[in-house]
């Protein structure tokens, strides 16, 4: 480092000519790890008679072979090759973790059954119970998106109104201060007998959990807009509507998104609780049902699916924000 500074010209010219090593050893190693998983799964004797061992083993073998086959070609696969190379340490570690899991459950039975099922037991749930699991995802998504859309829209409009019109602020502020901090789940018993159906009650609760943070952050965003922005627009002949729609709202949008993110997190929590306690469908209900039947493999499968769903929705919101707030510097990456 200091040598190159002393030399005056840093010898950076070598950098662009760097290529993927041939064959890329990272990808080869990941492939080998998956083949090892296949070997452990298929080769070692099991402590108990388990279904789908063959499916897990052959799946791991197929993935391992695919990695080995693609490894030499990774340099020619463009961005896919680069991604494969970037992700291969994770692939390898995932395979190693599965080997360890397989060993302590299916092979050596070191963990108490049925609380800690083997990987193939969870695979079995995905292979056999996917219609029910898929239906639960769909029901959860419908309930969540309805409530979230209502809550986000109401919160946004209310937040803008409070930030813009003094009279709205006068009446809304005390109500928000008093009722807002109450967790939405506390309304659950009340909501379930006030609303005609458990579905509408849950929609209301999700909307409530979403609406509060969106309202408060939209309001604070609108209230915090640089006053000079309004002076500029007023001298240029802007109407009241222009000041709200084209100045206050775009300026407040970064805050609005913070509220939308907080609301999404809160809505997940309410959704699961509502489904566990009242709604007869959805992933929360599936979790509860699985626990009731001591079907722990189903529970883990539902947890994995739920994590995938929540993280996908957050990613989706990040994508939307990146598109709408492309003008912002230093965006948080997800």
């Amino acid at each position: 480092m200091s040598g190159s500074i002393a030399a005056g010209v840093a010898p950076r010219a070598a950098a662009p000519s760097r290529r993927l090593p041939r064959p890329p050893w990272r990808i080869v190693l990941a492939g080998a790890a998956w083949l090892a998983l296949a070997g452990v799964t298929l080769g070692l004797p099991e402590a108990d008679d388990l279904p789908e061992t063959a499916a897990l083993g052959s799946g791991a073998a197929a993935l391992g072979l695919a990695l080995l086959v693609f490894a030499p070609a990774a340099g020619r696969l463009g961005t896919l090759g680069v991604r494969l190379r970037h992700g291969s340490p994770w692939f390898a570690v995932l395979a190693l973790a599965l080997i360890a899991w397989e060993a302590v459950t299916a092979k050596l039975a070191l963990l108490p059954m049925p609380f800690f099922p083997s990987p193939q037991a969870i695979l079995e749930v995905f292979l056999d119970d996917w219609p029910k699991l898929g239906g639960s995802i769909l029901n959860s998504l419908i309930l969540l998106s309805g409530g979230y859309a209502i809550g986000a829209a109401t919160g946004f409009v209310l937040g803008v109104a409070i930030g813009t019109f003094r009279a709205v602020g006068y009446w809304a502020h005390p109500v928000l201060r008093f009722v807002g901090p109450l967790p939405a789940t506390a309304w659950l018993p009340l909501a379930f007998f006030v609303f005609p159906s458990s579905w509408s009650a849950s929609t209301f609760l999700v909307a409530l959990a979403t609406g509060f943070p969106v309202t408060v952050l939209t309001w604070s965003g609108v209230a915090g807009v640089n006053k000079a922005y309004f002076d500029v627009a007023r001298t240029l002949g802007a109407s009241r509507g222009f000041l709200i729609l084209r100045v206050a709202i775009p300026a407040a949008l970064p805050h609005v998104f913070v509220g939308l993110f907080m609301g999404l997190g809160g809505s997940f929590a309410v959704l699961v609780v509502a489904e566990m306690l009242g709604v007869k469908s959805g992933l929360g209900w599936y979790l509860q049902w699985a626990q009731g039947w001591a079907a722990y493999a189903n529970m883990y499968a539902a947890l994995i699916v739920m994590a995938l769903m929540c993280s996908s929705l957050i990613t989706l919101l990040f994508r939307l924000r990146d598109r709408l707030l492309a003008w912002q510097k230093g965006l948080v990456q997800w």
Binding site: D231, A233, T235, L236, G237, A238, S239, R246, A251, W327
Partner: protein, 263 residues
């Protein structure tokens, strides 16, 4: 709009408005107690003239510009433009702030188009924006966001945002106050060129004596708060002016003397 302006001002090429400030006083309420910032200020700027208001920082110069822009009504006195009292903001009287205050969510083009958009000028909007950007030398930066601009470029964009509306009175509130010395010199020449080309009436607030003397036809020296007029000095030096011109040097010494500074 241009046609109307020409009708009101029969003199050829005189697009500028006449500004009359009659004995204006203004106070702010600081914790309930009134703080007088302007004390019976009167001035008259002829159409197409360039007047600089010079005074110590925080003396109330910016307040006067806000009153002329119509952002606030004066407590006492009257402000007239072409004889009509100022009753609110109007795109024919535009303010350029010390901060460019560009909207960060709009590109340079979107910022310059702001006034035309706000008043619903649809036809000819793109062409006028392009012309204004060309006028300030930002044609190549139309689709760039403000955070990608340097301080000088941002202030040029703010000038274009005002000029695209063909203002008849341009109020410059220390527009170059936050720029580095070299950029400031370049921008002074730029403002002078735009004024000579467009013939709007210009009222510049500054605390830079040299800037006032290089740009303005008349320099009005204000006292510390509350601002009152201490002196009005015509600068009878042809443009482009040189900072070492003996008359400029003499006026600078005189003004610094009025402001109580050793020259």
């Amino acid at each position: 709009m241009v046609a109307a302006a020409t009708l009101e001002c029969p003199e050829a090429g005189a697009a500028g408005a006449r500004l009359t400030v009659e004995s204006v006083s203004h106070a702010f309420a600081i914790r309930g107690a009134p703080l007088l910032v302007l004390d019976r200020v009167s001035l008259d700027v002829e159409p197409g003239g360039f007047v600089a208001l010079l005074g110590p920082s925080g003396c109330g110069k910016s307040t006067l510009l806000r009153l002329v822009a119509g952002l606030e009504p004066p407590d006492q006195g009257a402000i007239r433009v072409d004889g009509d009292p100022v009753e609110g903001p109007d795109p024919s009287r535009l303010l350029v702030f010390q901060d460019p205050t560009l909207y960060p969510w709009r590109t340079v083009r979107g910022n310059v188009a702001l006034g035309l958009e706000a008043r619903g000028v649809g036809r000819s909007r793109a062409a006028r924006v392009d012309r204004a950007l060309g006028l300030v030398g930002l044609s190549g930066f139309a689709d760039v966001y403000p955070h990608q601009l340097s301080g000088g470029m941002a202030q040029r964009a703010a000038l274009a945002r005002a000029l695209v509306n063909e203002p008849r009175l341009l109020l410059l509130d220390e527009p170059l106050g936050k720029l580095d010395a070299l950029t400031r010199l370049a921008m002074q020449a730029e403002i002078l060129r735009l004024w000579q080309e467009k013939r709007f009436t210009a009222l510049l607030v500054t605390h830079d004596v040299e800037e006032a003397l290089v740009l303005a036809e008349r320099v009005i020296v204000l006292s510390d708060r509350p601002a009152a007029i201490r002196a009005a000095l015509p600068v009878a030096v042809p443009y482009p002016r040189h900072r070492d011109d003996p008359e400029i040097v003499r006026l600078r010494r005189e003004i610094l003397g009025i402001l109580g500074q050793p020259a």
